[in-house]
């Protein structure tokens, strides 16, 4: 493998990462804000199939909650199913 020292990359600087993160949060806020416009029928007509869909910020909230719940539950699942890496290992196995 190529072991020559790397040049410094944009992402190597934690400040840049924080900057990106902030921009991402901002973008999210903007996307969520469109919902309000949708409510007012300004930009587009919002067609919904059932009531929950029509709640402002429903999709955004569901997206956030779903991931949070998923990760929380998955962490609990780990307690149940996680095993050491050599759990099934038999003599003579390659790494």
């Amino acid at each position: 493998m190529n072991q020559t020292p790397d040049k410094k990359r944009y992402l190597d600087d934690p400040e840049n990462v924080t900057r990106l993160w902030r921009r991402f949060v901002l973008a999210c806020a903007l996307v969520a804000a469109i919902d309000l416009l949708g409510l007012l029928e300004v930009v587009y007509h919002r067609h919904i199939a059932f009531f929950a869909e029509g709640l402002p910020g429903f999709y955004a909230a569901w997206g956030f909650i779903a991931i949070a719940a998923l990760i929380f539950l998955a962490k609990q699942l780990r307690r149940l199913v996680m095993r050491p890496e050599d759990y099934y290992r038999e003599p003579g196995d390659a790494d």
């Binding site: 007509h45 997206g63 949070a68 998955a74 199913v81 996680m82 050491p84």
Partner: protein, 564 residues
């Protein structure tokens, strides 16, 4: 020029030629095969092209209609990409079985009757297992055996189902079967094993990650898609499939979040994607079925792309564990970009191909009034973003720097990934001119309306927000050098330990049996050995006297029974 060439024939011939040629010539032959096959396919007539008589039934090995054609195109496309990806390898075995594997997949989707379908189905099993074995590690060999046993089990179940179905209806055509007869249930069970129904999915997550880097690409393209094809053809609108499909989208995402091996994450992700398709098949409306098959189409592209990206990482670094990787974007920027395109596609981000097919299924669930199902599907869609959309590229190419600086993979690998990525974007941006005309069922659908795009963006961006927020705050589960047990634990751990404990209890149990005590049931296999093993009562060489006693006993039985 209309042709009647069976679509699987070019690949079988290709396999033969691949076996006897070497070097550049072989590469040319391998790449030409799907091209030639595809050209022949373009001009193929529709209808039952070939018929044979067997056992008093009329078999139709080649039957062409829109549904088969869609999968026919798909498999040629997939085969071309996968072959291009694998062409640099110098392993004759792998190349030949991959060709046979593609041929049998084509045989399955063009089979017009159940017996031809069964034959292709079995060939699919036998050829694919070699792609696992070709890794040639002890783990791969064992995983291959487990895979083979389960798949043959699926084959036997299918055969039993076909026998019963044919016996009940007298119809061997490969058409709608439904769940009215026990035969139908058995057939669905067999198909279900191949497309990863819950509790039957473990072979997928067990064997695929053990296969060769290139083999996994083939594997992810054909076997499960054949099952999806068959379910679409034979079980469209079967209610249980809706709930089975929902469960399939739902449970693997939890495993995927905590799994360390990235190719295994992809395998879980695959079950999840298959769940969407199965759900669509269960819904059974024209829109839902179109959604299912088009999602199958797209899944071949983006799942293939992801497997190719991970295969490239595995080829260049020799590892696929999230805990061993990270920071690879510095030396593999092209692979990283292509991987991100695949991740965006699978996450169904607008303008990528996952979006234009998955939304059809979601929309049908809403149209049919399956609210609960829809909620679960929505949950699962966000889950996809987490494990396939973010986790895969993030842990492989970014995250903490592992210090690995592998070069980019060989040109042919990058080219194959590029083709898949371009197709992902093209289909995602212009579905109405590329994918939709191929769809077999009549249903109008426009994915790009403002509501849909905006809600999807909200869903995914906030999902992403949650992921990055948890990562930044340390709530995200760390990558552990560990494995997670799954259903295969039952036969990899419980069964062997059960047998060995049975052996331990057997000796005293046997003596207690002699004393007339009850026999413990769990020593079944050991008991079988006791009687049937080389020294067992039923197998050892008997003294002539004992043999003669048996003769006498049997004669006595006959005489007594006859006298009664």
């Amino acid at each position: 020029m209309p042709t009647e060439l069976p679509p699987f024939l070019p690949f079988l011939i290709g396999a033969l030629l691949t076996a006897v040629t070497r070097g550049r010539l072989r590469s040319a032959v391998m790449l030409a095969t799907p091209v030639v096959g595809g050209i022949c396919l373009l001009g193929i007539d529709s209808g039952a092209l070939h018929q044979v008589q067997l056992l008093g039934y009329t078999l139709t090995p080649v039957r062409v209609d829109e549904l088969s054609m869609l999968f026919g195109y798909l498999f040629h496309l997939g085969a071309f990409i996968a072959i291009l990806y694998a062409v640099h390898i110098k392993d004759t075995l792998q190349h030949v079985v991959a060709m046979i594997y593609a041929a049998s997949a084509l045989g399955a989707v063009f089979a017009g009757d159940l017996i031809s379908f069964f034959l292709s189905w079995e060939l699919l099993t036998v050829s694919s297992v070699f792609l696992v074995w070709a890794r040639r590690t002890p783990q791969a060999i064992r995983a291959g055996f487990r895979y083979l046993i389960l798949q043959i089990g699926s084959g036997v179940t299918l055969l039993a189902g076909i026998l019963i179905h044919v016996h009940a209806t007298g119809d061997i055509s490969m058409g709608h079967i439904g769940l009215d007869t026990p035969g139908g249930w058995l057939i669905m069970l067999a198909l279900g094993l191949k497309c990863g129904f819950p509790m039957l999915h473990m072979w997928l997550t067990d064997a695929y990650p053990e296969s060769t880097p290139t083999g996994a690409v083939f594997l992810c393209m054909f076997t499960t898609k054949c099952a999806i094809y068959a379910l679409t053809r034979s079980f469209a609108g079967a209610d249980p499939l809706i709930y089975i499909g929902t469960a399939m989208t739902f449970f693997p995402i939890f495993f995927a979040v905590i799994e360390n091996d990235l190719r295994r994450v992809l395998a879980y992700s695959m079950i999840n994607q298959l769940g969407f398709m199965v759900c669509g098949i269960g819904l059974g409306t024209a829109l839902a079925l179109n959604g299912a098959v088009s999602h199958a189409f797209n899944d071949v592209l983006f799942k293939g792309l992801l497997f190719m990206a991970m295969g490239a990482v595995l080829t260049m670094t020799g590892r696929t564990r999230a805990s061993d990787l990270g920071g690879l974007y510095k030396s593999m920027p092209q692979t990283a970009t292509l991987c991100i395109i695949g991740a965006a596609s699978i996450s169904a981000i607008p303008l990528f191909c996952g979006f234009v097919s998955k939304s059809m299924i979601m929309q049908s669930a809403l149209n049919e009034g399956h609210m609960v199902v829809w909620f679960f599907l929505l949950f699962a869609s966000v889950g996809v973003l987490e494990h396939a959309g973010i986790k895969i590229p993030f842990f492989a190419f970014f995250a903490h720097d592992s210090g690995l600086r592998p070069p980019e993979p060989p040109t042919n690998m990058r080219l194959a990934m590029l083709i898949a990525a371009v197709l992902c974007v093209v289909i995602g941006t212009a579905p109405a001119t590329t994918l939709y005309p191929l769809l077999p069922f009549a249903a109008e659908y426009h994915p790009y309306d403002a509501t849909h795009v905006i809600t999807q963006l909200q869903l995914l961006m906030f999902g992403g927000l949650a992921v990055f927020w948890m990562m930044r705050t340390g709530r995200y589960p760390t990558e552990e050098r560990a494995i997670n047990i799954d259903v295969d634990w039952l036969y990899r751990r419980i069964l062997p330990s059960g047998i060995s404990s049975a052996e331990n209890v057997l000796e005293p149990a046997w003596s207690s049996l002699k004393r007339g005590a009850a026999r413990p049931l769990n020593g079944l296999i050991a008991l079988l050995f006791r009687y049937h093993g080389p020294q067992g009562t039923l197998a050892r060489t008997w003294p002539i006297g004992s043999m003669v006693i048996w003769v006498t006993v049997l004669l006595a039985v006959f005489v007594v029974v006859y006298y009664l």
